[in-house]
C-alpha cells in the first residue's frame, strides 16, 4: 500500500505540472487550452534538437525549451486566440483544439515518428525512504510542480501585474476602463502558462521517452486534475494531481488494472457531483 501511494504521488505530480499551466491560462483568460500538452511536447523536441544537433549542455537545452514554450504561447495568443475571443466560450476552445492538431502534425513532420530516450537533469537513480522507493526524477517533478504552483499563486496575489491579471476575468470591460493593457496581460498569461507546460515536457520526457504522442494521455488527465482541483486554483491543480494519482494507484490494488483510467474519471465525477466547483474552487455566482 505504501509503495502504491508513493507511486501515485509520483504519477499525480506529472499530471499536476501540466494542469498548473492549464489552470493559470484558464484562470485569467477563461480559455481551455487543449494544445497545452502539445506545447510541452514541441518544447521537449526543441531541447532534444539543441542537445543532439548542437551538443549543448542539458541546462542550456532546458532554458531554450522553456523560452520556446513561452514564445509559442505568446504567438498562439496573438495569432489564433485573440481574434476569436469575442466569439463565446466554444470559439477559443475549438481554436486550441485545432492548434493541438497543428502542433502534433508539424512535430511529426519535423521530428518524425521515432521514440527517443531523453536525458534526465536529476539522474536515473531511485531513492529509498523507509523502504519506499521513488525516483529522483519523480521527486523533482513533484518539487517543481509544487514550487511552480506556489510561485504563480504568489505572483498573482502579491505583484501589481498579477493583481491586474486577476482583475480581468472579473470584468474584462471594466479592466480596460481603468487603464489595464488587457491584450498585453493576455499575451503574458499565455506566455507564462505555456512556459510552465514546456518545463513539464522536459521533466516528463525522461520518464515516458520523447515522442510526438507523449502528452496525449497526459493532457486528458491534466484536464481531469484541473477540474478536480478547481479550475481557478493553482494549488488545487497540484493537490488534485496528487489525489488522482494516488486514487488510481491504490484503486488497482482492489480492482483490475484495466480499470485504472476509468477509476480516475469516476472519482472526478463523484467529486463534481458534490462540489461542482472542484475541491479548491470557489462557487461562482452571477447576478441576473
Amino acid at each position: 500500500m505504501g509503495q502504491a501511494i508513493v507511486n501515485g504521488l509520483a504519477e499525480g505530480s506529472i499530471y499536476a505540472v501540466l494542469a498548473i499551466g492549464l489552470v493559470f491560462i484558464y484562470k485569467i483568460t477563461e480559455v481551455a487550452n487543449f494544445a497545452q500538452g502539445e506545447i510541452a511536447m514541441v518544447s521537449a523536441f526543441v531541447a532534444f534538437t539543441v542537445l543532439e544537433r548542437f551538443g549543448a549542455p542539458l541546462a542550456a537545452a532546458l532554458v531554450v525549451a522553456v523560452l520556446t514554450g513561452g514564445l509559442a504561447g505568446l504567438l498562439m495568443e496573438r495569432i489564433a486566440i485573440r481574434p476569436v475571443l469575442g466569439s463565446g466560450v466554444l470559439g477559443p476552445a475549438v481554436v486550441t483544439l485545432g492548434l493541438f492538431f497543428v502542433l502534433h502534425g508539424t512535430a511529426t513532420v519535423l521530428w518524425g515518428p521515432e521514440v527517443h530516450p531523453f536525458p534526465s537533469f536529476f539522474g536515473n537513480e531511485t531513492l529509498s525512504m523507509g523502504g519506499l522507493l521513488v525516483s529522483k526524477q519523480h521527486l523533482a517533478i513533484m518539487a517543481a510542480s509544487l514550487v511552480t504552483a506556489l510561485a504563480l499563486s504568489a505572483f498573482l496575489r502579491f505583484t501589481d501585474t498579477g493583481l491586474a491579471m486577476r482583475s480581468i476575468p472579473q470584468n474584462r470591460f471594466a479592466a480596460r476602463l481603468i487603464g489595464l493593457d488587457v491584450p498585453r496581460l493576455y499575451g503574458l498569461t499565455w506566455m507564462i502558462g505555456a512556459a510552465v507546460s514546456a518545463m513539464g515536457g522536459i521533466l516528463l520526457a525522461p520518464i515516458v521517452f520523447l515522442n510526438t504522442n507523449m502528452m496525449v494521455d497526459m493532457t486528458n488527465n491534466a484536464f481531469a486534475v484541473a477540474v478536480l482541483g478547481g479550475l481557478g486554483s493553482l494549488v488545487g491543480a497540484f493537490v488534485g494531481g496528487l489525489i488522482l494519482g494516488v486514487v488510481k494507484n491504490i484503486g488497482v490494488i482492489y480492482f483490475p488494472t484495466e480499470m485504472k483510467e476509468s477509476m480516475a474519471f469516476v472519482i472526478v465525477l463523484v467529486v463534481l457531483l458534490f462540489k461542482p466547483e472542484g475541491l479548491f474552487g470557489k462557487p461562482q455566482f452571477e447576478k441576473i
Binding site: 509520483a10 518524425g112 515518428p113 531511485t126 522507493l133 515516458v208 490494488i253 483490475p256 484495466e258 485504472k260
Partner: protein, 390 residues
C-alpha cells in the same frame, strides 16, 4: 415531405455503408499491378508505420528495378489509418473501390481484424499483414487472408515455455495491452503456464498508457521473476523503466515487436537480458536473400538500419511478389489465392519456409529466441516449431 426525404437519404446512406463491394476482378493492366496498404503513419504507432512503409517501399523499388513481376511494375498506395480500426476500413474501401487495388497488405492487429472481414466480402487477398491473433486472424478461417507471422498466442506460449524450460524462470507473469492482440498474448501465456502447473498472473493496461508503475508493482508483489510484455515496443520499454524505478529487475520478455534495435536504444543498459521472439533471418545471416535485402536497403535508405518491422515488411512484399509471379496468366485474385494454397515448404526468403493449404492460412509458425547481450541482440535458441496450431 422533408422528413420523408431525410429518411430516404439516411436509408440510402446506411445501405451504402453496410453493403459490401462487388466481388469483381479488376481489369488487369499489362504494365502495372496496384497494391494497397493501410498503416498507422500518424497516431499511436507512427514509428512502426514508418518502418513498415520503408520496408514495403524498399521491396517495391527492388522489384521494379528488376523489371517488375512478369513485366508489370508495382504501384504501392499506402493509406494512413492512424491505427484506428474504423479509419482502416475506410482506407481499405477507398483503396479497393476507388483505386482498384489488386491485393492488399497492412499493419496492426486491431485494424487488420476489421479490414480482413471487409476484404473477405470483397474477395480481395490480404497478404501477410503485420499483426497476429489466433482467433481473429491466423486461425479465423478467412479465405482471402494469408498470415506470415505466428499468432501472438503461439509466440507467447513458445517464448514463455522456453524461458521456464531453459531460462531458469519459475514464476512468469504477463503485462499486456487490453485489445485483441493483448488477449491473444494472454491465451498463449495461459497455455504455457497451465501446461507447467504455474499460476496465471496477468495485468492488463489501456492502450497509450505512459505510467506502468501500478501494473509493475502488482506483478512484483505477486512474486513474479519474469514479465512477458504483450504490448508495443515503447510501452515495453516503459514497463522496464517503471520496474527499475521500483528497484525490481526480473527477466523481461517480449515477442517479435520487441525484437528491434529501438528497444536497446531506448533502454540502454536496462535492455540487457531482454528476451524476444524472432521470425526473420538475422542480419548477420549468410543467406543470399539477406545479402540482397541489406544491399537494397542501403541503396534505397542509406542511413536506415534493418529493424524488425522494415525487414518483415520487405520480406512480406517480396513474398507477395513471389505469389503473383507464380500465378498463371490471366492474373486474377482467385489465381493468387490458389497459388498460395499450393505452397508447401515454399521458400519464404527472409521468413524461411512457408506452407499453406485451403484449410490452413496460418503459414508460418516457427521462431527462435533472441536476447540482448552487450548492447546487441543475439540468437540464444535454435528454430522452435510449436507444431500445428490449436
Amino acid at each position: 415531405m422533408q422528413r420523408g426525404l431525410a429518411f430516404a437519404i439516411l436509408a440510402g446512406s446506411m445501405a451504402a455503408m453496410l453493403s459490401g463491394p462487388a466481388r469483381s476482378e479488376p481489369d488487369m493492366s499489362k504494365n502495372e499491378i496496384v497494391i494497397g496498404a493501410y498503416a498507422g503513419l500518424t497516431g499511436p504507432i507512427p514509428l512502426t508505420g514508418a518502418q513498415m512503409q520503408t520496408g514495403w517501399q524498399t521491396a517495391v523499388d527492388e522489384i521494379n528495378a528488376a523489371g517488375g513481376i512478369n513485366g508489370r511494375k508495382i504501384r504501392l498506395l499506402i493509406e494512413d489509418d492512424q491505427y484506428e480500426p474504423s479509419r482502416a476500413v475506410s482506407a481499405a474501401r477507398k483503396l479497393v473501390e476507388r483505386d482498384g487495388v489488386f491485393l492488399m497488405t497492412g499493419l496492426g492487429t486491431p485494424t487488420t481484424t476489421v479490414v480482413a472481414r471487409y476484404l473477405e466480402r470483397a474477395g480481395v487477398p490480404l497478404l501477410f499483414p503485420m499483426g497476429a491473433s489466433a482467433s481473429q486472424l491466423n486461425q479465423a478461417g478467412l479465405k482471402s487472408l494469408f498470415m506470415a507471422q505466428p499468432a501472438y498466442s503461439s509466440q507467447a506460449e513458445t517464448v514463455i515455455g522456453w524461458m521456464v524450460d531453459h531460462g531458469g524462470v519459475k514464476a512468469p507473469c504477463q503485462i499486456n495491452q487490453v485489445d485483441p492482440a493483448g488477449e491473444d498474448h494472454s491465451l498463449g501465456y495461459r497455455r504455457a503456464a497451465e501446461k507447467r502447473n504455474l499460476p496465471v498472473i496477468i495485468e492488463g493496461t489501456e492502450r497509450g498508457t505512459m505510467d506502468f508503475s501500478a501494473a509493475v508493482l502488482k506483478a512484483k508483489n505477486a512474486g513474479c521473476d519474469m514479465v512477458y510484455t504483450g504490448m508495443p515496443l515503447e510501452s515495453s520499454a516503459r514497463v522496464v523503466t517503471a520496474a527499475d524505478r521500483l528497484g525490481w529487475h526480473p527477466k523481461f520478455v517480449g515477442f517479435t515487436t520487441q525484437a528491434d534495435a529501438s528497444l536497446i536504444k531506448l533502454l540502454g543498459p536496462l535492455a540487457e537480458g531482454f528476451h524476444a521472439a524472432e521470425i526473420t533471418l538475422a542480419p548477420e545471416s549468410d543467406a543470399p536473400s539477406m545479402r540482397d535485402y541489406l544491399a537494397q536497403l542501403k541503396k534505397s535508405h542509406p542511413d536506415t538500419p534493418p529493424t524488425f518491422f522494415i525487414t518483415y515488411a520487405y520480406a512480406s512484399m517480396m513474398l507477395a511478389a513471389k505469389a503473383i509471379r507464380e500465378t498463371p496468366e490471366p492474373l486474377t485474385r482467385k489465381g493468387v489465392i490458389a497459388t498460395l494454397e499450393s505452397w508447401k515448404e515454399a521458400d519464404g526468403g527472409l521468413l524461411g519456409p512457408i506452407s499453406y493449404s485451403a484449410a490452413d492460412h496460418d503459414g508460418k509458425k516457427s521462431l527462435y529466441i533472441i536476447e540482448v547481450k552487450g548492447g546487441r541482440w543475439h540468437k540464444v535458441s535454435d528454430w522452435i516449431d510449436p507444431g500445428p496450431a490449436r
